[in-house]
Amino acid sequence: MLAMLIRPLRALWLALLVTLLLAACASTPLQPVALTPGASTRAELADTPFFPDDSHFCGPAALATSLSAVGLAITPAQLVGQVFLPGREGTLQIEMLSGARRQGAVAMVIPGTLTALKQEIDAGHPVVVLQNLGLSWAPSWHYAVVVGYDLERELLLLRSGPMRRQEMTLRTFGHTWQRSQYWAFVALPPGRLPASVAEPDATRALVAFERNAKPAAAVTAYRAALQRWPHNATLAMGLGNALYGAGDLPAAAQVFRDAAVTHRLAAAYNNLARILLQQGHVAEARQAAARGLVLAGPLHATLLDTLRDIEAISQPGS
């Protein structure tokens, strides 16, 4: 009898203690938005679809919301088998990104700042965010979609779980978002880029996209990224490989030729040599492979293989 009385009391004491501790350490709020003069203080992507969810399917629901909003119509039910872990009653972050790719979208992680969220909303892109609605030691992970902001009232607008239009104060949102290390991503059709994405994140996302995408879609995606970051060697290689995959050998060769010269990349020389060989330009292929071999480094064996194949073709029957 006594134990029954003590237990809830102890729980309350603990609750009080933890609350005090939290109040003490919860002092790293979100950086405020850097507003340029004349910038809007309010925006809402009101047309963003809504898939209510009352259980553990916030991952598929958030992903379906973000994909449908940019013209890739899909329902959460169709995504459950691809991104949901029944035993964990949830969805891993990695699978949110790969799930978007499997639907033909490019999913890019964006910087975890309010400024980035605002930039994306201003560009018309809903943002999927991971929140820990609970505490670090008693997590309650949740995916929601940011669809708007009202900086005068210090509010964010979200499609979240069963709520079509959740108004959350920036302060509360900051706390819940901080516990996921400010994780957020934007999914868009190939050829479009998030406004706020950083070059390394975009590159990583596009290389991942190429892996399962149709070559033509990968070509579109790489071209758009190269317009923003024309000096990125990995993106150039990706464009070359995607063009090769699409069967456009002359265009692929040109891209590899440019990348080889600009970036002094052994991989570009190797792939150029392979295409030239395939086109029957043996002498040029040998020249490209030889230049690549000088720069090869870890690709030494690959370029030796290419040279060997070139010699085998140039001396038939020997």
């Binding site: 990695i94 309650s140 590159t203 990706g238 991989a267 690709l299 690959t302």
Partner: protein, 147 residues
């Protein structure tokens, strides 16, 4: 007469079996051929993933191979069954990852946060209700935070 019918049945069955075996052999041959073609096509061109990996680490890191090894372990397989993942869909899901992601998944499959509201025990309920009211958390949609 009856024996004749029986014989015919056996012969017929043998015939079916042979055809089945032949078809099976053909399918296996085709798939192996396909696999070897794919591999050789991969071997000649340097993939973008390899370029990206070399750019970041300077050395190859076969993440998919590591993940496949992790997923093939008996304890992991039984764990996946417990988590309700169908092996065929698991393979598809793994194929959709990059090498980098596969490597990190191999490291973190049990550590990465999974979304979805987790059922709260009584103590947690109390704490969260209080912290919700203070605006530090947002578990219960009916709380209004005080500022």
């Amino acid at each position: 007469m009856r024996r004749g019918v029986f014989c015919f049945l056996i012969l017929h069955e043998e015939h079916i079996m042979k055809r089945f075996q032949r078809t099976l052999a053909l399918v296996v041959c085709c798939s192996m051929l396909n696999l070897s073609l794919l591999q050789s096509a991969h071997a000649v061109m340097v993939s973008t993933e390899e370029v990206a990996r070399l750019a970041v680490t300077g050395a190859p890191d076969p993440g998919h191979a590591r993940l496949a090894a992790v997923l093939a372990r008996d304890n992991v397989r039984s764990e996946m069954e417990r988590l309700g993942i169908d092996p065929a869909s698991a393979q598809e899901r793994v194929a959709a990852l990059t090498d980098e992601e596969a490597a990190s998944l191999a490291d973190q499959i049990d550590k990465a946060p999974a979304g979805g509201i987790i059922g709260a025990i009584l103590l947690v309920f109390f704490v969260l209700l209080v912290t919700d009211i203070l605006g530090l958390t947002k578990v219960f949609p009916f709380t209004r935070s005080v500022r």
